[in-house]
Symmetry: C2
Subunit: 307 residues, 2 copies
């Protein structure tokens, strides 16, 4: 049986400015990054999203050649694609949103393709929690793993809806500040415990260039981010991480704590490529040997002897 | 031959306020933390420092029972001990200095005890870089390893002196913001390369609750900090880290990159105890089995399988 990953999220245009350069109206959106990263794991995936008629057909065609099913990407004939523009400050850790044009996203009603209603892994990318839930409700077989990403924006807007969707997911990926907002406590260890009580068996707290923490089964795993000499554009790093994480798990189906640890390293590995170019350029153009080689550096980076 | 560690630094009184409590006029100073952490490694150490006649003799006696030679701690009969008072903000990551009374520190002229002029490892705690250099100049045998700590205060005050002392050290421990200040660049990978050109073969960049990075021999090691449920007082964490690092290396004398990696884990381990109480209370009262058990959790925290 084919191993299938269903991805819900945005496919969009981004204009990005960072201290080292800028890029105008390039392809972005969380689902684009997730799908690109997951495509390296020899699985089948589908994206559920929405774009306008201004979105390049060539890109949808390219996704199809990467075994990314685009039949769940609704194309609104007279609509415009979601557009986001942002600027990163000197430290690349904080960013300012310059423009958000929801466009077709305003009336998005996700439709899961029939052939993906039995997907084994579902990745709910950063979107309104009600849309995330609607996607889950369309499944006709309980997925083996449901992963959810969210952000402070949704917690500010509709915390109850976030918490409602959370009841139905296995893994939440969230950054450190958002974990504090969601739990109401400062300690990440305590925050993870509180979030686990909201539903997810596992919580992954993303700390950008400082790596990620996995909490679950009373255990903690600390994953490093790869220290990089030059970061060009942090956009999509968390989504590439999620894509690598879900891609690996869809392929390998080891949903234990140990399996999730390995998946996180794969996610961190793909995120490290993502930030080395603007948009998805680097992420979509790496090859298997580059991925494998860099994966080995994670071992070197973290291994030590006790004596 | 005895394995000796020489420690230069302050022995002081601290008043500390954190979001979870406060402590008035407790024993502090970088040398106190370094010596306490290093004392767990079955080595001989000596502290070079200065106090006033207000400093409790019982504490100096206690240090002697821990095989910490205090003959290099000058007691100024009519002097007052260095006093620092600070307050940590909500996130425990930033602090505000409320009072700094240099007192006897103003005319400190470090004198290395004769029996420690051949110490194999020298730890230059956070003090004026000229005093750090003076300590090194008194050695009559080149130490096997010289470790230096410094801070933004000295870089603001006397950058040239910092750079001059740096020429004579093997390892610099510094936090991320300070590494950026010293190197003038944002990327920590690039910063470490620039700092290595200033003298130290190895650079350790401390990131507080996000762990530490070791750079040297063209390699990078990423060490986690232990995720803790409750942090009471971050004061002295970096010094406990340095003490564990130097204590381990003094005992084991493996000054290779691999040896330094293990030393960093020992340092992180001792730092994790330090922050669990105000001042040095917890650090001075743990036993060997507690240290050993927690050390094992660092393995669990970081180990993963690639497949």
């Amino acid at each position: 049986m084919a191993k299938k990953l269903l991805i819900l999220g945005t496919v969009a245009f981004d204009s990005i400015e960072t201290p080292v350069g800028k890029a105008d109206k390039i392809i972005g959106g969380c689902a684009s990054y997730i799908a690109q990263a997951a495509s390296y794991f020899d699985i089948e995936s589908a994206v559920v999203s929405i774009v306008g008629n201004d979105f390049p057909k060539e890109y949808l065609n390219q996704m199809e050649t990467q075994k990314i099913d685009t039949s769940g990407i609704e194309i609104v004939p007279d609509g415009k694609t979601f557009f986001w523009s942002g600027k990163y400050l000197d430290n690349m850790n904080s960013r300012e949103t310059l423009v958000t044009e929801l466009n077709v996203l305003e009336h998005f009603n996700p439709k899961v393709p029939e052939s993906y209603k039995d997907a084994s892994v579902v990745m709910l990318g950063n979107l309104h929690p009600d849309l995330q839930l609607s996607c889950l409700e369309q499944m006709n077989k309980t997925p083996k793993l449901v992963v959810m990403d969210t952000m402070n924006f949704w917690m500010d807007l509709c915390m109850d809806a976030v918490k409602n969707t959370l009841k139905h997911v296995d893994v939440l990926t969230i950054n450190d500040e958002e974990a504090r907002q969601l739990s109401g406590v400062f300690s990440l260890v305590e925050a993870a415990e509180i979030i686990q009580e909201m539903g997810p068996k596992y919580v992954i707290i993303k700390k950008g260039a400082d790596g990620a923490l996995l909490f679950g089964e009373g255990k903690i795993f600390s994953a490093p981010a790869l220290p990089l000499k030059a970061v060009f554009d942090p956009t999509g790093a968390g989504d590439s991480f999620a894509g690598g994480f879900c891609g690996y798990l869809t392929k390998n189906e080891d949903f234990s704590f140990e399996g999730l640890k390995t998946a996180i390293i794969h996610g961190s590995n793909l995120a490290s490529f993502c930030v080395e170019s603007f948009g998805i350029k680097k992420l979509e153009s790496i090859d298997a040997s580059q991925i494998k080689n860099r994966l080995e550096t994670f071992k070197e980076l973290t291994s030590f002897q006790l004596n």
